[in-house]
Symmetry: C2
C-alpha cells in the first residue's frame, strides 16, 4: 500500500532520445574523431555513460527508426522488403507502406503514464496520412516525413518534401520559410529551438515529457546553419556535426537551467553508420569496417551516450551489448510501465547497465532486408552472409567500403557462409579484418554457441508482412493534410502500383 | 636585474617524457579505442592537453628515439641508411653505428641547469659502449639497449639482450631475474617502480629531474605483467596497454602525493604507429591509413598528451602541428635554457600552444630512410613518394596496410610523385583515401605552397653521415660493460663487417 502511494506520488522522469542521421561512431571526439569538435557530446559522455557496444537495428534509416520506436526488429514490425534477397529498403516518397496500427510505439506506451510526447525532425515511418506521428502516439510534431532530399523540379514529377507542424503541413523544404541553401547556411535548423521550446513549455503539475529529437542535417545532402558554416576542419559534414553538437549542449543546459536535469534521462545515438559512400561529404565509422548499408560494424555500431545526473554515475563506461530497441524497455522500466506481452519484443531495460554497471550476455542480430546476415554474441560476431554491394554498382563508383578490402569478407556477391560463418573477435579485431581459423578450438566453441542462438532465433521468428515492397507515384507528398489551407495541394497522378526496386 | 634574480631563485620544473613503443593513436580510449581501457591516460588528457596533430619523426623505433632526444630529424642526426633508397633502418644487435658524440641530447642540455636525468626502459640509440645513455647525458639508466627480442638460442649465435643498471649490465632478458614469460605474465615490468623510485628519491634542494620513461612491452613480442594478463577485451596487446596505463596513473598519482604535480610537465606519446602488420597482436591507428614502417598517417600520427596542473589548463585541445622533436625546445624554454645555435634543429617550443592555445602554421616532414616521402602543411599533406612494402614481402604475408587498399596510394613499388604529389586534406580525410583532383584550384594552390617548403627544406639540408649502414656480428651484446663482474661475458666472434640488409 505504502509502495503504491509512493509510486503514484513520485514524479515520473522525462525522456529525451536524440537520434542523429547517418552519423558514425567515429564522428564524436569522445569516440575518436581526430579533430575533437564535439565538446558538448564529449561532456555529455563524461557526465553520463558511454555505451561502447551500442547498435542500431538496421544499417538504413527507416527500418532503424521503426525498430527504435517499436522495440522490435524490422523483420517483426514489417520495415523490410522481400522483393529480392537481403536488400536494404526505406521509405522514399513513392513507398506505399508504413508503420502498422498494431505496432505499439514508445509514445503510445508512455501515453498510459500520461506523458506528453513530441517528435522534432525526421519521421521516416511512412508518409501516407495514416502513418504519420500523431496517429501513432505523438502529441506534437515539427519536421518532415521523409529525408530532406531535393529541391525537386518545381514539383513537376516529384513534390518537395512537406514540413509538418503536428498533423498538418506548413510548407515544403526548399520553398519559402523552409528553404535549405547549403552554400549560404540558410536552413530550417530551428529544430533545436523546437526542442528547447517543448522541454520548457508549462505543463500540468508533474506531467512528464518524451522528446524524440531527430534532426537529419548529417544525411546527404549535408547542411549546416550559417553560424557553423565553414567552422570545421572537416568541411561541410563537420560543420553539420558542430551545429548539432551545439544543439545538444543547448538542450542539456536548458534541462539544467530549468532544474529538471536530475529528472531527465537523455539518450544520444545515430540511426545507422556513416555513409562513407559519400567520401569526404560523409561521416566516419572510426575503426570499424565499411558503413551504412552493410552489416559490418561500420553499418550498425553506433555512438551511444546516456545522461541523467544523479542517477547515471558520471564517467560510467558500459560494455553492455545494447541496441536502439532497448530504449523502449528502458523507458518503460523507469516509467513503471509494463511492456506489451502479446508480442515478441527485442528490447531489454538498460537500467541496471546504466546505474549499477551490470552486464548481461545476449545476442545482437544484424539484418539486411529479409536476411539475418550476422549475429554478435559476447565479443564474437559470426557472419552468416556477406555482401557490400553488387559489382554493377561498384563499377559505377558506388562503394560502401572505400579504401577497405578484406578478402572473402567485403564481397561483391551475396555469399552464403551460414554453414561455416566468418567469425571475428570484436575485442581483438574491432575492424573485422582477421577471421578466426575455422579449425581452431576457439572457432568451434564459438560457432557451437552461436549456432544454437541462430536456430532458436529463426525458429521463434514470425516475420511481419513486408511494408517496403510496393511503390506508387500516386502516394507521393502531392497533397498532404493541410495543403488546402496553404493553397499548396498538387495534382495527384494516376496510380501506378509496382514493386519497388532495391538495388543493394 | 630583477628578472635574473627571479630566474635564479625560481624552482625549475621537473620533466617526464613517457614514450611508448609501437602504440598507435587508436590505442587510447580518449583517441577512440572502442573498449575504453585506458582510464588513467584518458584522465591525463582531461586534466591536461590533448595534442590532436602530434607526430613522431619516423615510422620506426631507433630513428624516432634519436630524433626525440636530439631535436633533429634522423637525416640530420645520422639515424638512417642509404644502403638503398627510402629504407627503414633501426639498431638491431649487429648494428655498428649509434648516436654521435656531437649530437646534443635533451639530458645533456638540461645538465646545464643542473637537472638529474634518468632513462627507464629502451634506449635504441646504439648498444656499443660509446653510444650508451650515461655517455650521452643521462645520470641513471635501468633498461636495455635494444628491443626485448628473444629468447635466443642459449646465446650461441645471438646473445640475449642485456639489462643495464646505469653503465653496467646486471643480467639479460629471458634469463634469471629478467625473464619474460608471455604465458604466465612473469616479466621485468618493474619499469614503473623504477620511475616511481626516481621521482620520489631525495635530491639536493630544488634540484629538478628529467625522467625519460620508455617501456617497450607493447612492441612485439608483446607482454603484460601477471596482474593484467587476460584482463583486456583486446587480448595480450590490450593487457599490455592496460598495464602501462596503470603505470601512467601510478606515476601521476605519485607526483600529486609528493606535492610536485604543479611543478612537473609530463608528456605522453609513442615512438611510431601501431604495428598492424602484427594483426590482432598489434595496436590500432584508429582512423589513420596503414601503420608502422609507412609514411601514411598510421605510421607517424601519434597520441599526444601533455599534463601540468596549474600551468596547462585542464581540457586543453591543441591542433598545433607538433612532433617529438619539439620536446627539446619546449623543455629548454621552460628550463630557461638557450638551444644550441650551431646546428639545424627541428624543434619548436610548444609552450604557447599548451598554455595559451596559440597555433603556428609549420611543416611536418615524413621521412623514410634517406627520402623525404611526404610533407604536411596546415591541413594538407603531399605525398612525394609512396611505398608500403615490396611485392615480394607482401606475397609472403608481410602487410603494412592489412585490409586497406587505396588505389595508387598504398603502392607496392616505390612510386615517385614528386613532380605531381598525391595531396590529401587531413581534416576532411584523415584516412588518406580521397586525393585532391590534380586539376582543381585547391590542388594548385596547395602544391604551390608546399613546393616552396620542399625546395627550401632540401636546399637547407645537410644530411649527416648515415649510422645505420653497417652491421657486424662482432658488435652484438656478447660482452657488455659489467659482464665480468657477473661472469656473463660471452666469446666475441670474428668481425665480419657488411652492409646491413634493410628490406623495406
Ligand atoms: Ca540514416
Ligand atoms: Ca617502436
Amino acid at each position: 500500500m505504502f509502495c503504491m502511494i509512493m509510486q503514484a506520488d513520485a514524479t515520473l522522469p522525462n525522456f529525451i532520445i536524440m537520434l542523429m542521421d547517418d552519423m558514425g561512431y567515429g564522428d564524436l571526439g569522445v569516440f575518436g574523431e581526430p579533430n575533437k569538435e564535439t565538446p558538448n557530446l564529449d561532456r555529455m559522455a563524461r557526465e553520463g555513460a558511454l555505451l561502447t557496444d551500442f547498435y542500431t537495428a538496421n544499417p538504413l534509416c527507416s527500418p532503424s527508426r521503426a525498430a527504435l520506436l517499436s522495440g522490435r526488429l524490422p523483420i517483426r514490425n514489417g520495415f523490410y522488403t522481400d522483393n529480392a534477397h537481403a536488400r536494404n529498403a526505406y521509405t522514399p516518397q513513392d513507398i506505399v507502406g508504413g508503420i502498422q496500427d498494431d505496432e505499439i510505439l514508445i509514445p503510445e506506451l508512455l501515453q498510459k503514464a500520461g506523458y506528453n510526447s513530441k517528435i522534432v525532425g525526421k519521421w521516416h515511418l511512412g508518409h501516407q496520412p495514416q502513418f504519420l506521428p500523431l496517429k501513432h502516439g505523438f502529441d506534437e510534431w515539427f519536421g518532415a516525413p521523409n529525408c530532406h532530399f531535393g529541391p525537386y523540379n518545381n514539383n513537376k514529377t516529384t513534390p518537395n518534401i512537406p514540413v509538418y507542424r503536428n498533423d498538418k503541413m506548413v510548407g515544403r523544404y526548399y520553398e519559402g520559410a523552409y528553404n535549405i541553401d547549403r552554400a549560404t547556411g540558410e536552413s530550417n535548423l530551428t529544430l533545436f529551438y523546437e526542442a528547447l521550446e517543448f522541454i520548457s513549455k508549462p505543463r500540468p503539475k508533474d506531467q512528464p515529457f518524451f522528446l524524440y529529437w531527430a534532426p537529419d542535417s548529417t544525411h546527404a545532402p549535408v547542411y549546416s546553419s550559417k553560424k557553423f558554416l565553414g567552422s570545421s576542419r572537416r568541411g561541410i559534414y563537420g560543420d553539420a556535426v558542430r551545429d548539432l553538437d551545439a544543439g545538444v549542449g543547448a538542450i542539456l543546459n536548458q534541462l539544467t537551467a530549468l532544474g529538471i536535469a536530475n529528472n531527465t534521462l537523455v539518450f544520444f545515438t545515430s540511426d545507422n553508420g556513416a555513409a562513407i559512400v559519400s567520401k569526404t561529404h560523409g561521416g566516419s565509422n572510426g575503426p570499424f569496417l565499411c558503413g551504412k548499408e552493410t552489416t559490418f560494424e561500420g553499418g550498425l555500431h553506433e555512438p551511444g551516450i546516456a545522461w541523467w545526473p544523479g542517477t547515471i554515475p558520471a564517467g560510467t563506461i558500459s560494455h553492455q551489448s545494447a541496441t536502439v530497441m532497448d530504449y523502449m524497455a528502458t523507458l518503460a522500466d523507469f516509467a513503471g510501465l509494463p511492456l506489451p506481452s502479446d508480442r515478441q519484443l527485442d528490447s531489454m531495460s538498460l537500467r541496471q547497465a546504466l546505474t549499477n554497471g551490470s552486464e548481461v550476455k545476449r545476442p545482437v542480430y544484424y539484418y539486411r532486408g529479409n536476411e539475418l546476415m550476422a549475429v554478435r554474441y559476447g565479443l564474437y560476431k559470426a557472419h552468416l552472409w556477406t555482401w557490400t554491394n553488387g559489382m554493377d554498382e561498384f563499377n559505377h563508383g558506388i562503394n560502401f567500403c572505400p579504401g577497405e578490402e578484406v578478402e572473402g569478407v567485403t564481397t561483391h556477391n551475396q555469399t552464403d557462409h551460414s554453414s561455416q560463418p566468418i567469425i571475428f573477435h570484436l575485442g581483438r579485431d574491432p575492424g573485422e579484418k582477421y577471421p578466426l581459423g575455422v579449425r581452431s578450438a576457439e572457432y568451434k566453441a564459438v560457432w557451437a554457441d552461436i549456432q544454437v542462438i541462430v536456430d532458436a532465433h529463426k525458429k521463434g521468428l514470425k516475420p511481419a508482412k513486408p511494408q517496403l515492397n510496393y511503390c506508387d507515384n500516386a502516394v507521393m507528398n502531392w497533397a498532404p493534410p493541410g495543403c488546402k489551407e496553404l493553397n499548396a495541394c498538387l495534382p495527384v497522378p494516376k496510380s501506378t502500383l509496382k514493386k519497388c526496386v532495391w538495388p543493394h
